[in-house]
């Protein structure tokens, strides 16, 4: 494998992306929702209604569960519930970069074909692995930057508007694991799948429709956390990250083996 060729393609992808800022609107929208929801539920609603979160019997379970975390015991009940809400909605934040890069990744190969730029690209000595890796990284790196920017905004919002100590709880191993391990790995899995799908379908819309399915497991995780009180602990984060890393390796191998230059060049119109 030649990193020089991968970075050449990656550079092209990033340059190309600079001319399409509209692609990031879905991510900014999702990031804003993820930031506003805990702020709304945990800070604004109690402030307007004058009712404390800790007075609600519904949130006592969340408090009990959350109190099991190291560092949470020192927080007052109100702050602990706010911290629990901010941590739960972190998983939604993980969806932001995926939303941003999904359309990019889904159009990566089929888009080149439709723009008639794929054949000159394939006429160079680039290998299929290098091509797919360049495409995946081209979608992933902007997603990662967005993810970090969204997280900084999230922590900043908590620091400004929530109870003292809530923002600090977002910088403990569990939320950091979600943001820096599970989130990027979920993005990578989604984008790898999207790029692979993009090389097997003959229009970008089909690729987007198929690859958007990878958002479902992450959404399921969010629902499980809220509905049944499932706690994403550090070991769970590590397990999910490990499984997704293995899936990534398998997916990219599958992508390389399924990438059929001949079919792409001769059958796609």
């Amino acid at each position: 494998m030649s990193w020089s060729r991968v970075t050449a393609l990656l550079g092209k992808e990033l340059t190309d992306l600079r001319g399409r800022p509209g692609l990031f609107f879905p991510a900014i929208f999702t990031g804003a929702i993820a930031t506003l929801l805990p702020l709304f539920i945990g800070v604004l609603v109690p402030a307007f209604t004058g009712e404390r979160l800790s007075d609600s019997t519904d949130l006592q379970i969340a408090l009990e569960l959350y109190r099991q975390q190291p560092g949470a015991r020192a927080l007052e009940a109100e702050a602990a519930i706010q911290a629990a809400l901010f941590q739960q909605f972190l998983v939604l934040l993980v969806l932001s970069p995926v939303a941003a890069s999904m359309s990019l990744a889904a159009a990566s190969v089929v888009g080149e074909k439709q723009a008639r730029t794929l054949e000159p690209l394939l006429a160079t000595p680039i290998t299929t692995f290098e091509l797919l890796l360049g495409k995946i990284l081209g979608a992933f790196l902007p997603a990662l930057v967005l993810s970090l920017a969204c997280f900084a905004l999230y922590v900043g919002t908590a620091a400004l508007f929530a109870q003292p100590g809530v923002a600090r709880m977002l910088l403990t191993p569990r939320p950091l694991g979600v943001v820096f391990l599970m989130g990027p790995m979920a993005s990578l899995t989604a984008l790898t799948l999207a790029v692979c799908v993009s090389s097997r379908v003959n229009d970008a819309r089909s690729a987007q429709q198929l690859s958007v399915l990878v958002v479902l497991p992450i959404t399921g995780l969010l629902i499980a956390q809220i509905a049944v009180g499932f706690v994403v602990t550090v070991p769970v984060i590590l397990l999910i990250t490990g499984v997704m890393a293995a899936m990534n390796v398998a997916l990219i191998r599958l992508g390389v083996s399924l990438f059929d230059r001949e079919t792409i060049l001769t059958r796609w119109k």
């Binding site: 050449a8 340059t15 794929l118 000159p120 690209l121 160079t124 000595p125 001769t266």
Partner: protein
């Protein structure tokens, strides 16, 4: 330099190319002509290492390329039918990406040289999207030659260009011959082939004919001479008929005479006409267009 050895390509039950063989030498412009669906682009793609032949082989610089298509792609420049530029990237960015994909040690220098060669340096900072079709084709040609390939494959290089841009591209192609590159052009423009090509292959899934343009013309139509007279040509046509020339066509003040071979017949015709008192104004070889040759050969193939 580049050899197609009995190349065959099938897509399912459909045979796209059948047992096609030819070689392209350094410093030669070799034209591939044929109707739509004749297998020209498929042949180019096999020669460029983009698709695998179902049977037969490609040899580049004497070496078989099966299993080493990346090496083949590194040594060949392939201008695809569409310029295939990334619209949001500038001319320089487009070329730099390809220079790096080819692993050139000094991509910036190679890009500068290519832009200079193709006269596009002043457009370096412009996005490809704003370029005219002719300029896009120039940039695509510059991209094709960035890595200094020994063989160049050009798929419809002047298709859709205005006459001035097409002439510029033809001049660039002639330059490639001068630089001793092996040049293979696939085109529908037979006038262009007539002007540029050293040899022509007529493809219609199989190879119908392969020769120099002159030889193909002679093969299809024999040799013809046109004589122009000061007066009506009919009496002189009868004179030639009486002298044993069977293929004589009179039209106004000219007769067109066809015969096999070359040389002695032209002087014989002139001598007989002068002896019969003809007032001859001009004698010139009558050359069919390559289009006529193409249509005749293709008609023969079909029948």
């Amino acid at each position: 330099m580049l050899l197609a050895d009995s190349l065959t390509k099938t897509f399912g039950p459909r045979v796209a190319v059948e047992r096609v063989s030819f070689d392209v030498h350094p410093g030669e412009i070799f034209a591939l002509v044929g109707p739509n669906g004749a297998g020209k682009t498929t042949t180019l793609r096999m020669l460029a290492g983009l698709i695998q032949p179902s049977a037969g082989a490609v040899r580049f610089r004497g070496q078989p390329t099966a299993g080493s298509e990346r090496t083949l792609r590194a040594g060949i420049g392939f201008l695809t039918e569409a310029p295939g530029l990334w619209d949001r990237l500038t001319v320089r960015q487009n070329l730099t990406v390809h220079a790096r994909l080819h692993g050139l040690p000094r991509p910036d220098r190679a890009v500068d040289a290519a832009m200079d060669l193709f006269g596009i340096t002043d457009r370096a900072a412009e996005p490809a999207a704003v370029l005219s079709k002719g300029l896009r084709q120039r940039v695509a040609l510059a991209r094709t030659l960035l890595h200094d390939p020994g063989a160049v494959l050009l798929d419809e290089p002047t298709s859709g260009l205005d006459p001035e841009s097409a002439r510029d591209v033809r001049e660039l192609i002639l330059r490639l011959r001068h630089e001793r590159r092996a040049v293979l052009i696939s085109t529908h423009n037979l006038d262009e082939v007539d002007r540029l090509a050293d040899r022509v292959a007529l493809l219609n899934t199989r190879l119908v004919a392969l020769d120099t343009p002159q030889s193909l013309k002679a093969r299809a139509f024999g040799t013809r001479v046109r004589v122009t007279f000061a007066g009506p040509a009919d009496p002189h046509a009868r004179t030639l008929h009486d002298a044993g020339f069977t293929d004589v066509r009179a039209d106004g003040h000219t007769v067109s005479i066809g015969f096999e071979g070359a040389g002695r017949h032209t002087s014989d015709i002139v001598r007989r006409l002068v002896a019969a008192g003809a007032d001859i104004e001009a004698v010139e070889p009558e050359e069919p267009s390559l289009e006529q040759v193409y249509l005749r050969l293709l008609k023969g193939e079909t029948s």
